[in-house]
Amino acid sequence: MALELGRAGFKVVVLEKGPWYKKEEFVHDEILNSRRNFFMPLPWDEPHLWRAGPDKPYSRTNEAWTANCVGGGTVHMSGYFYRLKPIDFRLKSELGAIKGANIADWPITYDELAPFYDRAEEELGVSGNAVPHPFLEPRKKNYPMPPLSEHPVSLEIDKACKSLGFHSIPTARGITSTAYKGRSGCTYCTLCGSYGCENDAKSSTLASLIPQAIATGNVEVRPRCMAVEITVDQKSGVAKSVVYLDPDGVRQEQAAKVVVVSATAVESARLLLNSQSARYPGGLANNNGLVGKNLLFSSFGQSKATFRVSKQKATHPWLETTAPFVNRSLQDFYVMPDNRFGFRKGGTLGFMWAHPNPIFAAVGLARKGEPGVFGKALKDKLREYRDSKILEFEIYGEFLPTDDTNVTVDGKVKDKYGNPVAAITIKRHPMDFVMTRFLVERGEEVLAAMKPEKLDRVGTAGETTILQGGTCRFGKDELTSVLNKDCRAHSVKNLYVVDGSFMPTSGAVPFTLTIVANSFRVAQGLVERMKKGAT
């Protein structure tokens, strides 16, 4: 948004809660990067509240935060860049209503978003290779960069899939495989997901869009400035300014002609709900009580296959190769032809190596409680791990919106600045679990065909909370949606929301590329209107 507005000559101020990291600050230090508040706030400073259903008690967590820094979640993402499929925009029309789930068609079609997917892939920098498969979305051209080099295991996955009648496909990545627009190509350092990239090879907005936005001369980014309220003109009802805490914790106010909110679905809902006034007593743009409702994550399931290098290298010679990227996906079960397995809308399986962070791995091996081990048993597990390669898959599955999955603000619990925190209630639709289990079982068939030493199921009923959407769904009808088709609030004519909040349904791929593509779409509309003096 800022880039496109800046290019069009409009003055933009970007308020970012977190710091503006330089690439030199991205260090391979697991304790600093992955286990403290480098990216996420500490749960006792700025908690989220989380409960598994409206009848359950809340607990404090740092769950459902994404990175607090310039570039946000794209800084630490793995960069699995998929497009939605045409059916994702018309789920209700195509598959019919689902009892207990608030699914709705999008007010736009795939064809309307497709040019902006092209644009987002081009501007961010995506590497990959689009190959024909049963669920390939229509696209005009291949990715801007060729695929990254892959580990030889990728070909083994291809063989296993073929033997099962599945179509393995290359996973496109938001990572440069070659020099691209002044950025260098990936150096295959292997500590990628959950870390910032020291080479600007990861296509975060920090590395790609923001420097260009600054270069327009019209965009100012203010790091460590946390928006806490959007004020409104009580008479006209339009947004007037954003109140924020500056790096010294002092309240400041930035007046604006147009306010664009993009703080993740959970935090954007919190900001709107905390922006209460006589005109909007229930929170900004919340006239119909829908802000925060229909929260979406991505349905998650996972299994892992362990191969033992010393025992299996003769039969699995690829075990002795080290290379970070697997880049294989399965979308054969994206939509099921009928309901015989208890669901129609499925999802995507992505294959990858287990993350190499050693503390994370060891804590997982040690476990706790009755199954926990220490002493020689733990040392033996560490030795076994040393001799292993662990291939895993994860599911990005449809996450059905329900009445009891939502964000509210809890005035009784405040962050260290005194602002009411986001309170998340999550009550999943049972169909999600049926679907995820089915996908996990298919993934396990692939892993089993590769003859690992062991195959472990991690789970079939999770959610990936750094993928967020739904709290301000867009739609044609202002009674059933918060935003209009342009992602502008129905009730506040100069207020936009452009993170994942607009999504009425989750789709069954990571949301990242879709959010960026939609932002380009919304920006185009806004620029056109602003050039005519409107908002």
Binding site: V27, H28, L32, S59, T187, E198, P247, P358, K379, R383
Partner: protein, 230 residues
């Protein structure tokens, strides 16, 4: 009365296996691979004293800090060192003491981020010692490895929300951080922990911490966002 959300986490988990599995791994943020698991729940509650070992009524014992330790008394330090070595005993591979794990724990508990963990962990050391005294008429540091393992196992297997179980979890996490974290924090001496687990990625790209890197300084810089108001 407002329900205290911290108390809320003490509620037992749902029995349904799927629900349990879900709650376990929603905390893992697996999409990021690296797992931004902020030390689990261990840092949230004060250890809950059990009837037999009231944590509040610690027996009188020397409390003076020495110049060599930042968090622990000499006596507590010896207990932590003995416990860490039972978690990762030396065998054909390095153990916790080889990696300087006790020093790591002593230093890392001084960081702002772990302030509440320190307040929970330190009294737990005394509780471990008292439990050992009660069972074997000897302090933890002086007990045999078999006795030490027996007490640690009791802590490990205590109810999930008990102070003992949470203290055990903190011990595991801190020991593994000290064994496998960047050596600049004081543990993982000469990278012996990385050798033991076969981690070889750090040391050949420009983002790998080089000479003079000090992770703890970086942590301190995170503590307040750097503004004048800190």
């Amino acid at each position: 009365m407002t329900p205290d959300p911290d108390e809320a986490t003490l509620a037992p988990l749902d029995d349904a296996p799927d629900e349990l599995a879900r709650r376990v791994f929603v905390q893992r943020l697996t999409f990021m691979g690296g797992g931004v698991v902020l030390l689990g729940n261990a840092c949230k509650e004060s250890p809950k004293p059990d009837a037999g070992a009231p944590l509040a009524a610690a027996p009188s014992r020397p409390q003076a800090l020495t110049t060599s330790h930042l968090t622990f008394t000499n006596e507590d330090f010896a207990i932590v060192a003995a416990a860490a070595e039972r978690v990762l005993p030396k065998d054909e591979d390095a153990g916790a003491l080889d990696a300087n794990v006790p020093e790591y724990i002593d230093r890392i508990l001084q960081t702002k981020q772990l302030e509440s963990m320190k307040n929970n962990f330190v009294p737990g050391v005394a509780a471990l010692d008292r439990r050992t005294q009660r069972m074997f008429k000897v302090g933890f540091a002086g007990a045999t490895p078999e006795q030490q393992d027996e007490v640690l196992t009791i802590f490990k297997n205590s109810p999930e929300t008990s102070g003992e179980a949470r203290w055990y979890e903190m011990l595991i996490v801190l020991t593994l951080e000290g064994f496998l974290g960047d050596p600049s924090y004081g543990g993982n001496r000469d990278g012996v922990g990385w050798t033991a687990i076969g981690f070889t990625l750090v040391d050949h790209t420009k983002a790998d911490p080089g000479k003079g890197y000090d992770g703890k300084k970086q942590l301190e810089a995170l503590r307040c966002g750097g503004g004048k108001g800190c």
